[in-house]
Structure formats: structure tokens, C-alpha cells
Point group: D2
Chain length 398, copies 4
């Protein structure tokens, strides 16, 4: 158990701070997953996830991390040797490509610079090269929000790229670090398989993975030959219809899921999204005031759920993070893969308010000073200016 | 939230009643899975599972149900088309075989009668048939405790069958509903891969799957060609050594795991096993007094963690269970597969004491009466006689 | 923290088993007791207690034990030297009289036999002796349910005794161990001051004391000269009207109070009372089957919330209780005052269901056997017969 | 339940933010207050409070608010008509005097300016006037920390004033808002009765009141004639020796007390005090940067547990507090009595770390701006400078 006074600020880009109401729910006595009380819970959770994912179609819930939901998206729709086009926005796109390779798929990568969102034009170009009767690319995989770089992508533009090139490939989208923090529309955006997890905008601990599945993806599954058992969507179908699961679900996390979605919907999803935009804007003001570089170069690509900040050359981001953790009990996200030790990431998603964000930014500002890194003061001031000027939509307490 | 007065008695053979200390632990704020505090937790959990599983070797923890750990045992050790010998003790053995088939393995089944444990002689015979240079059976899969029938099996005898036939197949054992309720020794019994889950004797909610891995199984993995990513043991190796995981772990369930193992070890594993034996004996006295049949025919095969009771012919076990749930708020396990509506199963594992067991048996006795089923009274009396005569080893309160 | 497996059965006649929903509520973050969120809570709690106590008039909530509410009833209505008539039904009536003496009142006792409820005729007789202009008895104090003896009293009959004798004394009634377990009507029964506590039928931990106050008692308070500050009703009046308290309230217990009353009202108070009657009846069947004596001689006086059982002569009730606690982890109430070591008390109030009661009775039956006390088996059987035959009104789960 | 996103910042000067470990403890199942498990808890709590209060003598724990402990200090030591000298440092001193008057004591007040601590010289003068054989002042009552004004007092200097005047009056000290935040020594400072509560530095919800009692105060109690029952120290003596209480204690708050003291002692009391000094210093830097006045004029009197800030003339402190609560979900303390609407009070005591304090100060700074009050920016910057420069003593996580 932690011995430090006060509350830890978990400001990594997920897992996020789990609200008390959700922790309470998770801490309730486990129930019979084959009993009538569970059936109601199961149906509520599936419906809730439909609303969160923006679909009236099928959703699937796995006892797994988000990584598992990546795997499920692939094994349910593809066959050994199928080609998948992955846009490498950063570390997590690379990891998803790696999962595909391990499962026996052929991966074609569109290289990104790890400092911006998806260039839909590059996807269109790649798809155009895959023309004619042969058309071997079976799926295009992109991340709505690349957690390692802080860059969000325009999913409708990717959909348009597929449509423009008349390519029949499935569109697979990872919304792990954007769901319930940034608007997302599985049906509206024409996504075939969406991949999500519990531990970010949904304000839950890790342990649940999600898929949303279009009719086209479902039909593709009938012919898909990759071996699957645990991840098999079809095994879910009948039990899910009655509120049950084909194997023992993570009951207590489902208690939490029901409560977390209730909280989000009490706040109102538009307000939730506004709140995240507002936090992102305040954080960017702080970064600009400090005179530091954003990892994500293009302002319009910058994520509403996290901000990745580049350390000045020659300075260790990990040393800064360690100092901030030790001195101020604030956790920040680390640089991953190519960005190792080069960036630190401020998570501003999930169950968060203005003063928690300002406390976090204060820790960064003090930490930069203590580290001796070249920067200007004034980040917290700039963030306060923004937050004071731009009121959050208020929610009445019940 | 439940509206019924008093505490629900969750007496299915898992998930079991999660103790308050474990629920508290699970309800704590999620922490950074890449931070120093997590590293200590991760190491403690891996060590704790080594002790629970009886191994000094490798253990693997997945965010998954036990079903996932079945899949992991197969994909990490076998190649497409490999033959697996599965002893069909009941419904769950059949499901494991089905998993194997879906993953592209060839399954050879030793048929059981769903009313007893493994007949090691039948395994030896099957292995003997697979003689000569060709020896195509790569693994033998058995359940230590068949949750659907209430029959436990003699794992060392199965090991001996392999040894006696000089067969090099791997021995895969499922201990999902016996671990931490009945003695189990991965190393001592010469098991190659053990499969376990969190929601039974470990007194946790569902959501964690476990493997223990022998050196032989690990080496087999190097040549195993089944596709794997999420379940890949090797990806765990380096991060685990430092207390971390290759993808986001189910942090809050790990909080619970640490606490649950601490509780079991405070009680003392021998006492834990004795307690389960004692509950099983008391339950059997009740069943005998009622004049009902055990599903498991042979007394020496009857499980210490659950008792499956056959309804008199013509009577519905599910109707009885529904009545008991409605009238007494006690959940019992249902019959599965071939035993559908034929048996009800009393879980007497996990966090349980004498009076909870007696309340449960009272519910069954009253339920049998209300259902009008042919039976004799006196089951609770018989169980009381046993429990009063055979004191539990007492644990001092701290 | 407790090290014993399974859940402790807290079957003393209060504190009772606190339901999980209430424990959750109590474990929520404390709020500003002068802020707007608290105002709503304060009003809800005061209203809830009006409903529980059966009054449309004033209720007062103290951060205190029930003992404090005894004191408050006296100091707010009486002056030094005033005479109070206390009917000594048992230990707690005696303690209340002792409180009165310490506060400078003169106590006249109507002796009871500690084995029955109030004899209203005896009160009428005592009041008649106090006739004429002098009439010096200012208050009559009785317990609705004497927790030490298991005897309930007919409060309306006491009211009638006052009315019949035309005596102007105030009627003070303690409903500490009956409130929310047995019907109680402060207004309807013409009670002047009711005294209650949180830790019995209200299913809360101890720490809140309550008064309900008639107009007559309120007016008497204007002239009452006993010194008072903490317990002063008048200081509550203005802050309470706005939902606040004159000094810092026990905020977290108020969280629990709101939740507990919500639970009771979801069940429905008539069902709550029926449930307690049913548990009492089942317990009495068990006691009769054992061949033991009730401490409360007259069946119609026997409490619905607890049953006090006399040990056979020469046998120690405390030794039995210690044995049952050690062997079965069940707490029973001890004999108090004159009944020390002579009775054990089974609490069957609060958050309780059939199987918990049967587990408790099983512990008693096994304990009697182990103690070697003279008794007959069959108590649990008799209780099962009653509970199976007399269904509880069922509450649908939400 | 609250609907606002993120965690409320409860920065009033008590109740303070209750840490998760303590909330967990409070949310555990209530136990038998007459059983062996409770006896250990009771003893541990009494011992823990001895250490907190700095005494090897008697401590008393009441189920009550701190107000109740004020009353207990008086009724256990004084007789009707006794004179008490109260130094009116502010609102709470005045309230204590009012309690004394209501209980029938004669109060002599030393007027303070509500902007500083006790002037020990004024006490010495008042005592000197009460010379000769008649010496009618029986007790001197002061607050160690006046929560309404933010001024702390030099208790040893008050002791010296009594000693210098050779006056035999008892010294009664209220440490409600300083205990466990600022050093306090009941024995070492020669205090006769100390008054404390649970909801401030002890990091508990309200509901427990405490007294520490010197031998002299105990002996005075033998002759004290004020009526008392609930508050009677002597009734505690025998039960407390065995770990029990004379009436039902607030069991669940005692669970919390044990845990809270464990947490404080794991941190180390010197570190706890240093931390509070550091937070006070940072807060003062902010106030000075804003150009606002401290309510407490003399720097050396300023409290380490809270800072009362005066609003510029013509500006409403309550309007500012309401705005900050609505916009930023931060609760600040209000002005009380004479200071109504004139000051706001920042609580920096209890379970708190640097970033929570900075978030709080940011809310104040933004609020001042939004209110349009005359002030300078730079408060948060100044506080950051202080906190970054003056590292807290670090506590290793276990």
C-alpha cells in the first residue's frame, strides 16, 4: 500500500484515474455469471458499449487488454497470408502490425513520421497500387489516436480514401485512447472493426477489450481462416443475445463498466468531449509558454486526450518523469519505441477536472526547473488563463 | 443493485464468494503499470502464483478467463495438425478439446462416463497404441478437477501412465476449479503446462488466467508453429523479469491476487486444503441423508471443491435451482452439456465457513421439500454432526 | 484484519450486519458540512428519519450512541429534581434510570421481572398514586423493546395508562432495538420523546442517536432547567431547517443513513416487519425444539428482533457463546446485569435472510451439543419447517 | 452521488480529505463491540490517541463531534457557578465560552482581536486579578489553533502564565484543528484537559471526540458537581482498561482511527509536521503575491494547518467561495461570526500533497480573477517556487 501523503496523480495517457463510483462498483461481490441478475447486467453492458462506440450493430466484450481486441479484429476477419495495410503513426501502430505478422498475415506499412496523424492520401495511393482483379490488401488498419505520439487521425478521411480508390479492404480502427474522450462513430464513419479498451476514456481499470463489427466484417468472418477460439466473435452471438458470455466474463469489471457509462452519460457525451478539448487546449498553452516542442507537429492533429512533449535535445525525458514522480507523486507517460526518453506524455483524459490538470502542469513546470532544463516559466499561468476564460459546461450535482 | 435483504450465498463452483479484503484491494486506485510501484506488485504476483501452482519455474499471468489459459497452453507448445489426447471427464474437458480443434489441432478423445475421474490406465493404453518412431500424440490433456461432474483425477497416476508407456507427449493439466482448494504440485507431479484461473479457490473475481510451464514445455514452444501473439509466453519473459507485462495487465485484479494469496497463506495452505475436505465430507453426509445420488460414482474421486448431485429421474434440477434462488437467495451450479437439468452442483470452495455451508445445505433441503422431490430430511443434521465432530484447524484472529 | 475464512455472522442484537451498499456509502469521501451538497443530504436524512420514526414533527440527529439520545430526551424536557417513572423491564431500562439519576432527576422505578414487557396497569397504578395538584412525576420512560431480555412492550397501552389516569407526564420511549424491525409510530402512539440509534434495524454502524419530539415535549423544553448544550434540541432548529447542523455532523454515517433508509423503503416497511416476525417465529421454533426456555415468559411479549434464551441451570451461557464464536465464527449477545451468564441472545434483525438465520441456528445447535448441555436436537429442522412453509414476501431484484 | 467529473478538492480546514486506506477501513463490516476482536481494537485506539496527544496518561474517546469533547472537558472538572477564563481568539473560542455558559458556568472573557493568537500576558494579568484566598477562576480555556482566524497560540506560554501567577486553575486546551498537523504535547506542555476531534489532521470523518486528562484534572473531577452521564470520564475507566467502552462506540470510525494513525506514523510525525509547515509557507507566498491580507496579523502566529485570507474591502468572500466551488469544484472555508463574508479560509491540513495544494491555489487565483477582485497574479508561481525549492522529506513507498 502506498505510504505517501495525499492522492497520487495518475496522469499517464491511460490507465486513467478511476472514479470512486466505479471503484465501488468493481468492489462489489461477484455474482453468478449464469444467473438472471447477470443477464440484465450483460445486456446493459453490451448496449452501453454500442452507445459508446456509435453503433447499432454488433459489439463484443472480451476479458482481455486492448491488445487482445487488436488480435480479435484480425483473426475474425482474415486468413493466413492475407495482406494488411498498416499506417505507422507510431509505436502502437507498429505493435499492431507486429501482432498481425505473428498471426501469419503479411503487413504492408505506410511509414509515418511518428509526429502526425494519418495522411489519408498516402493510404489512397497505397490502395491504388493494389489495383486490378488481384487486389490483395484485405484490411487497412489505423489508429484514431496514437497514444505514443499524441496525434489523432481523421478516420472519415481514411474511409474516403478507401471509397475513392474503390478498394474493398476492411477498415480496422483502434480507438483505445480516444473512446469516450473524443467523438467516435463506428457506424457513421463506416468503420468495419473498431478496437477499444477499458482503461482510458471509459475510466475503468484495464481488463476489458472491445470490438465493434460492421456487417461487412461479420460476413468476411465467415470465410476467414485464421485459427480462433477465445477471440471468436461467433461464439459470442447466442449467449450475448441473452446477456451471457460463452466463457466466464470479468464480472466485476462489467459492474464498473455499467457505472462508468452511466457517469459519462449523466455528464453528457458532448460535455465530456468539450471537457477533453478544453483540457487539451489548456495543456497546449502551457507547453507553448514553456517554449517546448509538441511531438505532434500539426496543431490540427493534436490529440484531445493526451499531449506528448519533446524534451530539449540532450535532456532525458525519463529523468524528468522520475524526478516528477519522486518529488510530486505525479505519473506521466514515457516515450515509447523511437521516442524512448525523448518525449514525456501528459494524459488529460478520463475522470479529471481543472484543478487536477493544473496540479499536474504545476508538477511539470516545477520538474523542468529542478531538472535544469532550458524552458520558460509561465505554463501554469497560461493554462489558468485558458481555463478561467473558457468555462466548462457545468453539470448540476444531483 | 440487488434489493433483497441479507447477503447472497454464491455457492456455485466458481466464481466464489470474494472476501472483503480482496474486494477492497480490487477497489483501490489503478496505478501506472510501467512505474516502480507496479514492478514490485508484478513480481509479488508472479512469485505468489509460483507458490500456489507448486513450481519454481515459469508462470504466466494473462488478463483473460481460464479459457484463455487453455488456449495459451496449446498455442505455445503445439503446431498445426499435432495430435492431442484429451480425456473427456465431462463438459469442460470436451470444451478444451473443442478449443484444440478450433486452433487446428487433431484431437483424440478418451471417452469418460462423466461420472468419474480419469482412468490413467486408459491413457496408458491410448499412448501405447501410439508407439514406434511415428509417435504422433504431442500432448495429453486432463482436468485435475472436472467442474461439471464433481470428479477429481489422480494427476500423478496420469504422469505415471506417460512414464510407463515411455511416451514423450507433454502433460497439460487444468486445475481451474481445484487450485488453492485441493493440493496441486506442478513441479512435483511432473506436469508440463498447468492451466488455472482466478475465480475459484483463489477467491478472486474472474479475469485472470494462469499457466505454469515446465522446461520441457518451454523448449517445445521453440518449435511450436501455432500462430500466437496475445498468448505468447516468450513475450512475457523479459518484462516479467522486471515485474512488468508486455501489454497492459489487469492491474486491479492483480491488487486482489496479492491480497488473496496473502490471506490463503495466513490461513496456511494445509489448513485451506483441510477446510475444503471437511466441507466436502459434510456435504456428502447431507447428500447421503437425503438419499440422492452423487453424480461422481466413486467416492475416492469426489471433489473437495464441489459436489454434483443428481436429481431423481423425472425431476428438473434447474427448476430446483430456480426455486432455491428465488426463495432463499442461494445460487447453485447447473448441469452442463450431457448433464443439463440432471444435476445441481454445490460449490464448497473459496472463502467459506461452516455456517455458510450449513445455510446452503438448508436451502437445498428446504428447496427439495418445496419442489416435492422424493428425498429424506436429515441432510443438514448429518452435516452438522460431521462439522461439529471434526473441528477445523482454528486460525487465530490477528 | 480478521484472518478466519468466510464471513463472520454478527448475530448479536445490534450492531447488526451492515449491508454492502451501506458500507460503500459510508466509505465515500467526506464532504463540506456547510456546502450545498450537504444541505440536500441533511434534509433527506431528517425526512427519512421522520418516516422511520412515524412522525411529521421534529426529529433530531446526534453524532452519538443511543445512550446520548437517552440523555437528550431527559435534558431537553426536565428540570433538576423532577421525578421520572421508569419501568424496569431489564438492564437497559435500569441504565436509562441511572442516566436520569446522574443528571439530577429523581427516579421512581416500577420493578419488572426482566422476563416480560411493560405491565401498563402497573404504570397506571403508579400514576394514580401521583394524584392531586401536586403531581410530581414529569415523565414516564419505557422501552419498546428491551434488548437485554427479548421482551417487547405495548406502547399504545402505556399511552392509554397515562390517558386513563389523566396524568400530564411526558411519555418517553426507547425504540433503539426495535426501530425499522418492528412497527413504531411516534405520532400515532402519542409518544412525546422517542429515543433511537443507528446500529440495529437501521443497519448502520453505531454513531448516530435520534430523538423524535412531540409538540408537548417541545413546549416542556422551554421550561426545562437541566443544563444542556451538545444535546440541546433548540440549537438544531434553525440549521436543520436548511439541512445543516449546529456543529459538525457525522457526515459519513449520514451517507449511510440515506442509503439504508432507501434500502428499507425499496423492500417496503411492511415486508421488513413481516420478515422480522418470520425470523422470530422460526427462531422460537428452534428454541422450543431444543427444549430450552425463553427468557421472555409470555409469548405475546417476545420480540421480533431478538430472542433471549435461558441456559439450563448450572450451564454457562458465556462459555457457550465463546465456544460458538471460536468454533463457528458466529457472535451471539451476552446476558447483561441480572442475566449475566444466564442467557444468550440471538439477534435476528437488520440485513438478514433465511439462510443466514439457519446458519446461525445451526451454530447454536452444534454449540449446545459440543458444550454437553442438556437439550434436544431438531431446532434447525423446526426452523426450516417454518421458513419453508411461510414464504417471505419476495422482492424483485432491480 | 456527485455528478461532476474529477475529484472534489475538499480544502476547508476540516473535515479534510480522508485517504483511501482510511475510507476502506471505515467501510469494513461492523464487529461485536463486546467481543475479543474489539478489545484489541479498543486498546490500540486508546494507545494511538495517547501518542497523538502526547500523553502517557488518560485519554477518552467519545462518539461525538469535537463540540462534545469541549463539553466533556467542562462537565468532568467543574461545578455549577465555577468561573472559567476563556481567551476569545475567535469564533470557536466564543462558542466554547457559550457552551460553558449553557452548562451553568460563569465565563470571564479575555477579548482578542480575532486576528492573532493568545496573548499570554493578558491571561497572566487576568489571573493576577483573581488573587488571594478567594481565587474563583477554576479553569483557563484556550485554543491551540483558532480555526476561524488561522491563528495558532503558544500553549507553553499560557502554561507559564498560569505558573507565573501561581494560579491553580486548570488549563484546558482545544487542539481540534491542530492535532496531527502541528506539534502538540499534552504532558510536556502541562495541559490539564485537551480537546480534540477526528476530522482534521487525523484524516477521519467527523464523529469522534477526544480528551486527554492530567492527574490534576482527574482529581478535580472527583469534586466537580456539574451533572454528567454520557460525558463522564469515570465510566470509561474500567471498560477502557479492557479495550471496551461503557456504551456502544462508533466502531467503524475506530477502524478508521487505527488506520489513520498507522499512516501518520508510517510517514513519521516529524515529517507530517514539516509537511504542514511547508504547505503553510507556500500558501503564504501565494497570498503575499496576490497582495491580499492575512487575517492573522502576526506572521509568527499564522497556523500551519489553515490560512485565513481577508477579502479586499467591499468584496464578498462568500461570493468568491461560491464561484470557486461552482467553477472549479474546490471547497474553501467560510468566515464565521465577526468574520462572516470577510475571509475565506484555505485548509492545508490532512492528507495532502504539493500538487493538490497547487491545484487549490490555482482555483483561488482563477476565482479572484473571475470575481474581478483587486489582486495581483503570481500566487501559484510563488507557491511553486517555494515547493520546488523546499523538498518535502520523502517517504519510500512500501
Amino acid at each position: 500500500m502506498r505510504n505517501r501523503p495525499g492522492r497520487h496523480f495518475l496522469q499517464i495517457p491511460g490507465p486513467t484515474n478511476v472514479p470512486g463510483r466505479v471503484l465501488e462498483a468493481i468492489g462489489r461481490p461477484t455474482i453468478d455469471h449464469r444467473g438472471p441478475e447477470f443477464a440484465a447486467l450483460g445486456r446493459e453492458c453490451l448496449d452501453a458499449m454500442r452507445r459508446m462506440l456509435g453503433t447499432r450493430g454488433r459489439v463484443v466484450i472480451f476479458p482481455s487488454s486492448g491488445t487482445g481486441a487488436w488480435e480479435a479484429a484480425l483473426v475474425n476477419t482474415l486468413s493466413p497470408g492475407d495482406r494488411v495495410l498498416v499506417y505507422e503513426t507510431g509505436h502502437f501502430a507498429r505493435l499492431w502490425a507486429e501482432v498481425a505478422r505473428r498471426l501469419g498475415l503479411e503487413v504492408e506499412t505506410v511509414e509515418g513520421d511518428w509526429r502526425s496523424g494519418v495522411d489519408a492520401g498516402a493510404i489512397e495511393k497505397a490502395l491504388s497500387r493494389d489495383a486490378g482483379g488481384a487486389r490483395s490488401i484485405r484490411a487497412v488498419a489505423v489508429l484514431h489516436n496514437e497514444t505514443s505520439t499524441g496525434a489523432a487521425s481523421d478516420v472519415p478521411a481514411v474511409r474516403q480514401a478507401l471509397d475513392a480508390s474503390g478498394h474493398p479492404a476492411l477498415l480496422l480502427v483502434d480507438t483505445i485512447s480516444s473512446l469516450a474522450s473524443m467523438p467516435y462513430e463506428h457506424d457513421g464513419w463506416g468503420v468495419d472493426v473498431t478496437v477499444a479498451g477499458s482503461q482510458k476514456g471509459l475510466m475503468l481499470p484495464p481488463g476489458l477489450g472491445f470490438n465493434a463489427v460492421s456487417e461487412k466484417a461479420w460476413r468476411a468472418g465467415a470465410a476467414a481462416k485464421l485459427a480462433r477460439s477465445y477471440w471468436d466473435w461467433r461464439a459470442m452471438e447466442d449467449p450475448n443475445a441473452a446477456g451471457y458470455f460463452p466463457f466466464t466474463p470479468a464480472t466485476n469489471l462489467l459492474f464498473g463498466l455499467k457505472e462508468a457509462v452511466a457517469m459519462l452519460e449523466e455528464e453528457g457525451m458532448e460535455r465530456v468531449f468539450d471537457r477533453h478539448r478544453r483540457f487539451a487546449a489548456a495543456t497546449r498553452r502551457a507547453v507553448q509558454a514553456w517554449g517546448l516542442d509538441f511531438n505532434c507537429r500539426r496543431p490540427e492533429h493534436r490529440s484531445a486526450s493526451l499531449t506528448a512533449v519533446r524534451m530539449p535535445d540532450g535532456w532525458s525525458a525519463d529523468a524528468l518523469r522520475a524526478l516528477i514522480l519522486e518529488r510530486f507523486d505525479v505519473s506521466l507517460g514515457n516515450g515509447l519505441g523511437k521516442l524512448d526518453d525523448r518525449v514525456f506524455r501528459i494524459g488529460h483524459l478520463g475522470d479529471l477536472n481543472d484543478v487536477t490538470l493544473l496540479g499536474t502542469l504545476a508538477a511539470v513546470e516545477m520538474g523542468l526547473g529542478l531538472a535544469g532544463a532550458p524552458f520558460q516559466r509561465g505554463g501554469v499561468d497560461a493554462a489558468m488563463d485558458h481555463l478561467a476564460a473558457a468555462p466548462a459546461a457545468m453539470v448540476d450535482s444531483s
